[in-house]
Amino acid sequence: MAYRVYVPSDTTAKALGADRLAASIDALAHEMGDPLEIRRNGTRALYWLEPLIEVDTPEGRYGFGPVKERDLESLFAVEFWKGEVDHPLALGLVEEIPYLKRQQRLTFARAGVIDPLSLDDYKAHGGYRGLDNALALEPQVIVDAVKESGLRGRGGAAFPTGIKWQTVLNAPADQKYIVCNADEGDSGTFADRLVMECDPFMLIEGMTIAGLAVGATQGYIYLRSEYPLAQKNLNAAIETAYANNLLGENILGSGQRFDLEVRLGAGAYICGEETSLLESLEGKRGLVRAKPPLPAIVGLFGKPTVVNNVLSLAAVPFILDRGAKAYADCGMGRSRGTLPFQLAGNVKQGGLVELAFGPTLRELMFEFGGGTRNGRALRAVQVGGPLGAYLPESQWDTPLDYEAFAKIGAVLGHGGVVMFDDTVDMGEQARFSMEFCVAESCGKCTPCRIGSTRGVEVIDRIRAGENVEGNLELLSDLCETMVDGSLCAMGGMTPFPVQSAMKHFGEDFVKHTSDAQALAEEA
């Protein structure tokens, strides 16, 4: 019998050479008379160990990583496929690796375990049990389960998912839609990508359940064009789902219909904002809509529409399978369930860390992340994407839940944590926040469109030492105008990283001038 070897296949593993590695392992095995059966899993998202090769043994899966081509000779020499062998890259049982063992993987339980495109694998690991249950339930009962689970939107705004679904269920209409926001544009985040690349059936199942719950027969996944592999895997999984009556006009013989299609974005960050996304899906410029009306009432093509993030929809199969209580039992306060954090930037052990809410940011960055990759002192951390505040060390003991972060003027957002060492120039980072807003503003409202351009100019003047005190005051004022006057979070939150940089890292703005004191007073 052939030994089974897993070689990961997500974007990061491939970017680190996993495809070439798989081909080389296959070629070497072929020379030996094919003792190995190579399978492609997704990834466990323990990225400092990628490519992380796993082998199946009766005791579980043993890992080796990070494996380079030059390591293959020695790995074959010790017959690594037997699992417990002596080799410098041997990691032991993968699920005993502390980084993984200490997590609570609900949404990501299958990531890196299964072949992403194998429906059999998905079902063997609990897949489609949630849909089976949902098909026997009244829509209101499904919505109630999601409400009771305490699930809040994982895209960043943390709005209760069940309430949104209830609004759509209650809205009378001949056509309703489920739209998955897969425009994961925040730097430092890749959890949505992991779902789509490593466990795409989970998202399909979640959207199908959402359709049953609110009476929607058409779903769209709005996927950013920067994720070509996610597109490929989603399309392949959708095709398989159709072929197995898991999508289409008569789902599992129930007489219920749900159709699903992937639509590609085109490199516009603003299209992650839900109304802009809907405009884009309709084939227009991604201009933000004024709310109300809410998309739940007047959404895609004017019809009631559920717009949920990938992770929100991906949590649904678990809730319908194991029960609302099982999900709600994780977490703290009003932050229920788990949140997949993503450790990125200058981090020694980057990757996905799915935890019930509650540990502090410091624990996440040091106990999981292991500090910076290059060993320099950690100085600033941006949590929640390009619109999230930069946090100085004095705030790293904040617990990771929505309310605790809101209290310090920060956001958890989509759970991205980007770490910067002490070489970072926070004046430059603040400038970039404004510059990013210039590039990505939809242009509909003035504070965002013009404010960001003026913001870049003012920061440039401050950094050049021109009338520093006056310009700092102007920048503070501009930030307030953008926060108060913008139509959506793009202009409304762009000032967060800028203001936090001014407040906590003011010396960086004026380090080229002798006016270092001015900013401290301003902030």
Partner: protein, 165 residues
């Protein structure tokens, strides 16, 4: 996306693409993607075909094209190289990489090298945030790209041209 397009303009091919997709709800973006995938960019002539098919004005179609960074209206080089400019890559040295890339290629963003091998574009996040700086060439993402690795990538793209000829 994965099959490299050909830049030579064929109106009948474009019309067939438009006819196949035009009845989809919200068909414009799918059509623009399909046209760009096939022809590597969206020529003005395509706009003249798309607008009547969707009962839009040419200005409306142009407005959509110009809104989205991904769409281009001029023919790119044989390879589009995208460098991630976003924060997670900045924290890993992307600013130095950008500067190196521009100097090494002798172009700024949105420009094409004189030999038409490479068009350089910025991109805001490829989702490879734990292993940056990240660079995308076609549909392939590369991790941990420093100056040396970038030069190797570009050399490979140039060599590829020699092999083709």
């Amino acid at each position: 996306m994965s099959t490299p397009g050909s830049a030579s303009w064929e109106p009948t091919v474009a019309q067939a693409i438009i006819d196949e997709l035009k009845s989809k709800p919200g068909a414009l973006l799918p059509i623009l993607h399909a046209i760009q995938d096939r022809f590597t960019y969206i020529p003005d002539d395509a706009v003249s075909l798309i607008a009547p098919a969707l009962k839009l004005s040419r200005a409306e179609v142009h407005g959509v094209i110009s809104f989205y960074h991904h769409f281009r209206t001029r023919e790119p080089g044989r390879h589009v190289v995208e460098i991630c400019r976003a924060e997670a890559c900045q924290a890993q040295g992307a600013r130095a990489l950008e500067a190196h890339a521009k100097a090494a290629l002798g172009v700024d963003y949105h420009q094409t090298t004189a030999d038409r091998t490479v068009t350089l574009e910025p991109v805001y996040c490829l989702g490879n945030c734990a292993c940056g700086p990240s660079v995308r060439v076609g549909d392939e993402i590369h991790a941990g790209v420093d100056a040396q690795r970038f030069d190797e990538l570009v050399d490979a793209l140039k060599t590829d041209r020699l092999e083709v000829q």
